[in-house]
C-alpha cells in the first residue's frame, strides 16, 4: 500500500493539483464575465431555477454519477450571482478585517459548562466582547462550535491572511485555494463551509436546518449544503479522520474514509439540471431559525399566551423592513443607521420612526411617514422630551417588564430550533431581558444582557481570558471532583444541574486558580470573572472585587413589537414613573451568582440615573394629579379675573363716553 512517505504519493498529488487548477481556470474564464455584475431577470416573478449543479472545482455534477462530489453553492449560484458581493454582506463579513463593526449586537457565546465559562465572542470587536483568537479559537473551531446557526461563509472559508480568505470566497479566486496548504484546522478534510444561499432562499420546506446542523456537528462542512437541501444523503463523518489524511488519496490512510454521498437522481431532469425552489424574500419562519427567543423566566408567559410581533401579525415579513440589495448589507433598522450606511435616507425610511412618523421636511416620499399604510402615531399626552430620551423600542418592544428581568434563551446561544430532549429553562448561557440601558446615543432602550464568566489572567489592571483549552486542562477536573452546593443546600454532583452547570464554591475557585497560576508568568495573576465580580486569590482565600472586566455585555432587542395599546405608558405615566416601576426600579441579577454574594443592580443604575433624582421624581409623580387640579383651578381663576378686568375696562370706556352726553342732558 502506498503511504504519504512513498515518493509516488507526491508525484500523484502534484499531478492532481495541476489538473484541478487547470479545470478551475477554465471555469474562472467562463464565469468571470458574468460574475462581476451577475445575471438578472428584472422581473417581480421569481426566475425558475432549473440549474446545473457544480462542485467546488466548477465541474458540472451529474446526479447519476456515483462518484459525484458535493455541490458547491459558491460555484453553482456564482454562475449568475455576484457571490463576491454577497459574501461581504452583514451576515457573512464579521471576520473580514475591513468590515464595519456596526452597532453592537448579539454575540456568539462560548458556553462550556465543564469550566463554568460563558464568554461573549465577536469578530467585530464590539466593546465587551472578545475576539475568538483571544480564547485560542481559530476559524475552524469557531465554525465547528457555532455554524449550526450560521449559513456558512465568513470564517467558513477558512483563516484569513492579509484580509483575504484562504479559501475562495468567490468563484474567481479558486486558484488560491489549496486546502493542504492550510496549516490550521482540518479544512482539508472537512472542506470549507461555503455560504449556503439556500439556507435563507429555499422555498418553504425545501431546506432542512437540522440536517445542516448535523453535518456541521459531524464536521462534514463541504457536504452540509447538499444534505440540507435534500439533494442527497450523506453517510459518515470526518470527525475521526486523522489530520494527515489526504482526501485525494484516501487509500494512504488505512481506516479513514470520507463521507459517502448518494445523490437523489430523481431530482435531475433530462438536461442534467436540478430545480431549486427559490424565494427572493425569505419568510419570517426562515429568519426565526437563527433569531428566535424562548422566555424561560418564572414570570414569563407560556408560549401559547405570548403575542407575536404586531408586524408579523399584519402579514409582514422580517425582510420587508430588513432589506438589502445584492450586497446583502442588511438594513438593521435602528435609529441613526442612515448616518453610517452608504444607502442614506433609503435606510432611514426603514427604521421604526422612518416608516411610521417619517422625517419632517424630507424630499424623499418614503420618508413622509405612514409608509405603506403604517399608522402614524399621535402619542397623545406624551411630552416630546420622551422621544429624545427613549428609543421607540423602549416602550414598544420585547416582553412587558417585570419587577425582575427574566431569563431568556436565544437561537444563537441555546441552539433553539434543534431538537434536544435535555432542554431546561436554566440551561446556560444565562441571558436576561428586558434590561433598560442607555445606547451610544444616550437614549434608553431595552437590551438583553449577560455577565461574562471566564477564567482569565490579570496583568496590572488588564484582564484577558485564558485559552479555553488551557482552562479545560486545568479547571475541568477540579470542578468535576468537588461536589457543589445545590440550591437546596444539599451536596450534589454537577450532573444534576442543567448541562452540568453547578454553582462553583469558593474552594473550587481557589483550587482552580491555584492550578491555573502554575502555568502563568511572573506578574500575571489567575482570575475568575463571574457574577459581576472578579475573583482572585488573596493568600489561600478567594476575594471578589468589582472590575470593568466583570461588567455585563448587553445588546438591543427590538422584537416582538407591541402595538400602542400594549406599549409602556398605555395605562399612563405611572407605567414608568411609579416608584416601583420595573422600567426604572426593576432588578437585574448577575448570573451565574458569585459565591461571594449576589450582585443585583437596579435599572436606574444601569441607566446612569442619579438615585436621588429618581427618588424625587418618583415622589413628585405621586402629586401629579393634584398638581393638575390645582393648576387648572388656578388657570380658571386667573382667566376669570382677566375677564373681569376686561369687562371693567369696557365699562370704564363706556361710562367715559356717556359722561359728556349725561352732562349735556343735565
Amino acid at each position: 500500500m502506498m503511504t504519504v512517505d512513498h515518493p509516488t504519493y507526491y508525484v500523484a498529488a502534484s499531478a492532481m493539483r495541476v489538473f484541478r487548477l487547470a479545470m478551475a481556470c477554465m471555469v474562472v474564464f467562463w464565469t468571470a464575465s458574468v460574475q462581476a455584475q451577475g445575471i438578472f431577470s428584472h422581473s417581480r416573478s421569481t426566475y425558475p431555477h432549473w440549474i446545473n449543479l457544480m462542485d467546488e472545482d466548477g465541474q458540472v455534477i451529474n446526479l447519476r454519477d456515483r462518484e459525484a462530489r458535493p455541490y458547491s453553492p459558491t460555484r453553482t449560484c456564482g454562475r449568475c450571482h455576484n457571490v463576491d458581493a454577497i459574501n461581504h454582506g452583514w451576515h457573512f463579513n464579521a471576520n473580514f478585517g475591513t468590515a464595519e463593526a456596526g452597532r453592537p449586537g448579539e454575540p456568539w457565546i462560548l458556553t462550556d459548562p465543564a469550566t463554568r465559562t460563558q464568554l461573549p465572542l465577536s469578530y467585530r470587536k464590539w466593546p465587551g466582547t472578545f475576539h475568538p483568537d483571544e480564547v485560542g479559537m481559530d476559524e475552524w473551531h469557531f465554525i465547528r462550535q457555532f455554524a449550526r446557526h450560521m449559513s456558512g461563509g465568513g470564517p467558513g472559508y477558512g483563516p484569513r491572511k492579509d484580509g483575504k480568505a484562504t479559501a475562495g470566497t468567490s468563484n474567481t479566486d479558486k486558484e488560491e485555494d489549496d486546502p493542504l496548504a492550510t496549516p490550521e484546522g482540518r479544512w482539508h478534510i472537512s472542506g470549507y463551509l461555503e455560504n449556503d444561499c439556500m439556507m435563507c432562499h429555499a422555498g418553504p420546506g425545501a431546506y432542512d436546518v437540522t440536517e445542516w446542523a448535523r453535518q456541521v456537528q459531524n464536521e462534514n462542512f463541504k457536504w452540509a449544503p447538499t444534505a440540507a437541501v435534500g439533494l442527497g444523503r450523506v453517510v459518515g463523518d470526518t470527525r475521526r479522520i486523522p489530520n494527515d489524511f489526504d482526501p485525494e488519496f484516501p487509500e494512504f490512510t488505512p481506516g479513514a474514509q470520507l463521507p459517502q454521498l448518494q445523490y437523489d437522481a430523481s431530482k435531475q431532469n433530462a438536461d442534467n439540471r436540478v430545480f431549486f425552489d427559490i424565494v427572493r424574500k425569505p419568510a419570517a419562519e426562515r429568519c426565526y431559525y437563527c433569531h428566535s427567543t424562548h422566555e424561560t423566566g418564572e414570570q414569563s408567559l407560556p408560549r401559547w399566551q405570548r403575542d407575536p410581533d404586531v408586524h408579523v401579525m399584519q402579514g409582514m415579513n422580517c425582510a420587508d423592513c430588513h432589506r438589502h440589495g445584492i450586497d446583502h448589507n442588511m438594513v438593521r433598522g435602528f435609529e441613526g443607521e442612515a448616518a453610517i450606511s452608504p444607502h442614506g435616507s433609503a435606510v432611514a425610511a426603514l427604521s421604526c420612526a422612518g416608516c411610521h412618523t417619517g422625517v419632517q421636511g424630507s424630499d424623499n416620499p418614503q420618508l413622509f411617514g405612514g409608509r405603506l399604510g403604517a399608522p402614524i402615531p399621535e402619542h397623545k399626552g406624551i411630552p416630546p422630551l420622551h422621544f429624545e430620551s427613549l428609543t421607540c423600542t423602549a416602550c414598544h418592544s420585547g416582553p412587558w417588564p417585570q419587577p425582575s428581568s427574566q431569563t431568556v434563551q436565544t437561537s444563537l446561544a441555546h441552539a433553539l430550533g434543534q431538537s434536544d430532549e435535555h432542554r431546561h429553562p436554566a440551561d446556560p448561557p444565562h441571558i436576561t431581558q428586558p434590561v433598560f440601558v442607555r445606547n451610544a446615543a444616550g437614549k434608553i432602550e431595552p437590551h438583553r444582557m449577560m455577565w461574562p464568566t471566564y477564567w482569565g489572567v490579570m496583568t496590572g489592571d488588564q484582564v484577558k481570558p485564558l485559552p479555553i483549552e488551557q482552562v479545560q486542562k486545568a479547571v475541568t477536573r477540579v470542578l468535576r471532583q468537588q461536589p457543589a452546593e445545590s440550591a437546596e443546600g444539599e451536596k450534589a454532583r454537577p450532573e444534576s444541574f442543567p448541562r452540568g452547570w453547578a454553582p462553583v464554591t469558593k474552594e473550587q475557585i481557589a483550587a482552580a486558580l491555584t492550578a491555573l497560576q502554575k502555568g502563568l508568568e511572573e506578574g500575571q495573576i489567575a482570575v475568575y470573572v463571574t457574577g459581576g465580580r472578579l475573583h482572585k486569590l488573596d493568600g489561600e482565600t478567594v476575594t471578589a472585587i468589582e472590575h470593568t472586566a466583570a461588567e455585563p455585555y448587553s445588546w438591543p432587542l427590538a422584537h416582538d413589537v407591541r402595538p400602542a395599546n400594549q406599549a409602556l405608558g398605555a395605562r399612563g405615566c405611572m407605567d414608568c414613573h411609579a416608584p416601583d416601576s420595573p422600567f426604572i426600579a426593576g432588578l437585574v441579577a448577575a448570573q451565574p451568582i458569585s459565591p461571594n454574594g449576589e450582585v443585583i443592580r437596579r435599572m436606574h443604575e444601569l441607566q446612569n440615573i442619579d438615585p436621588v433624582l429618581w427618588e424625587a421624581w418618583a415622589r413628585g409623580f405621586g402629586m401629579r394629579n393634584a398638581f393638575k387640579i390645582v393648576g387648572f383651578a388656578a388657570a380658571g381663576l386667573i382667566g376669570l379675573v382677566l375677564l373681569w378686568l376686561i369687562m371693567q375696562a369696557f365699562s370704564a370706556i363706556h361710562l367715559k363716553r356717556r359722561k359728556p352726553v349725561a352732562e349735556l342732558r343735565a
Binding site: 397623545k380 411630552p383 421624581w617 413628585g620 388656578a634 378686568l645
Partner: protein, 190 residues
C-alpha cells in the same frame, strides 16, 4: 433662535427701563397699595419666576434640553408660581382695574404698573395652560411641540412683564418714599 430672542429681549427691556429711568424717573407718582401679605406673595412670584427661568434658560442657552435636575427644579418652581401668581392676581385685581380709584390713604397703582401686571397675568395664564395641557391625553406630538413653543414664549413674556412691573413698582415706591421723607423732614424742621 429662542435663546437669541431671550437674550435680546431682556437686554432691550433693560435698556428701555434705563432710558425711562433717565428721562421720566423723577416724576411724581402715587404710592402703590402694597400690604405686607401681598408684598410677601409678590416676592414668591418673583422668586419662583426667577427659578423657573433660570432652570429653563440655563440648559437652553447651553444648547441642551431641559431634563434631570433642571426639569425637577423647573417643575417645583412651577407649583409655587401657579399658587403665588394666582393669589396675587386675585389680591391685586381690584387695584389694577383701569378705572381703579386711589384708596383711603391715596395709594394707587400707576397706569403702567396696571398694564404690566395685566400682561403678566395674561402671560402667566398662557404659561400655566401650555404646561398643563400637554399633561392631558388630548394633544399629539405636533400639538405638544406647539404648546412647548407657546410655553417658552409665554414664559419669556411673563419674565419681561414682571421685570417691567417690578421696575415701575420700584419707581413708585422710590418716589413715594422720597416724598414721604421730604414731608417728614419738613415737619421735623418746622
Amino acid at each position: 433662535m429662542y435663546a437669541t430672542v431671550v437674550f435680546f429681549s431682556i437686554v432691550a427691556t433693560l435698556v428701555l427701563m434705563g432710558v425711562h429711568l433717565a428721562l421720566r424717573g423723577g416724576r411724581e407718582r402715587p404710592a402703590p397699595p402694597v400690604g405686607v401679605v401681598s408684598r410677601l406673595i409678590y416676592l414668591l412670584v418673583l422668586l419662583s419666576t426667577l427659578l423657573a427661568a433660570a432652570s429653563a434658560w440655563g440648559p437652553i442657552l447651553r444648547g441642551q434640553t431641559m431634563r434631570g435636575w433642571a426639569l425637577l427644579a423647573h417643575s417645583s418652581a412651577a407649583g409655587l408660581l401657579i399658587v403665588s401668581l394666582t393669589s396675587l392676581v386675585v389680591i391685586w385685581a381690584g387695584g389694577c382695574r383701569i378705572a381703579a380709584e386711589p384708596d383711603d390713604r391715596g395709594r394707587a397703582f400707576t397706569l403702567g404698573t396696571r398694564l404690566a401686571f395685566t400682561l403678566a397675568a395674561v402671560a402667566g395664564l398662557l404659561v400655566i395652560l401650555s404646561a398643563l395641557l400637554p399633561m392631558t391625553p388630548l394633544f399629539g406630538t405636533h400639538e405638544q411641540e406647539l404648546l412647548i413653543q407657546t410655553h417658552r414664549y409665554a414664559g419669556l413674556g411673563l419674565v419681561l412683564a414682571l421685570m417691567v412691573h417690578r421696575y415701575l413698582l420700584w419707581l413708585a415706591q422710590r418716589r413715594s418714599r422720597a416724598t414721604k421723607g421730604a414731608v417728614q423732614h419738613e415737619a421735623t424742621t418746622a
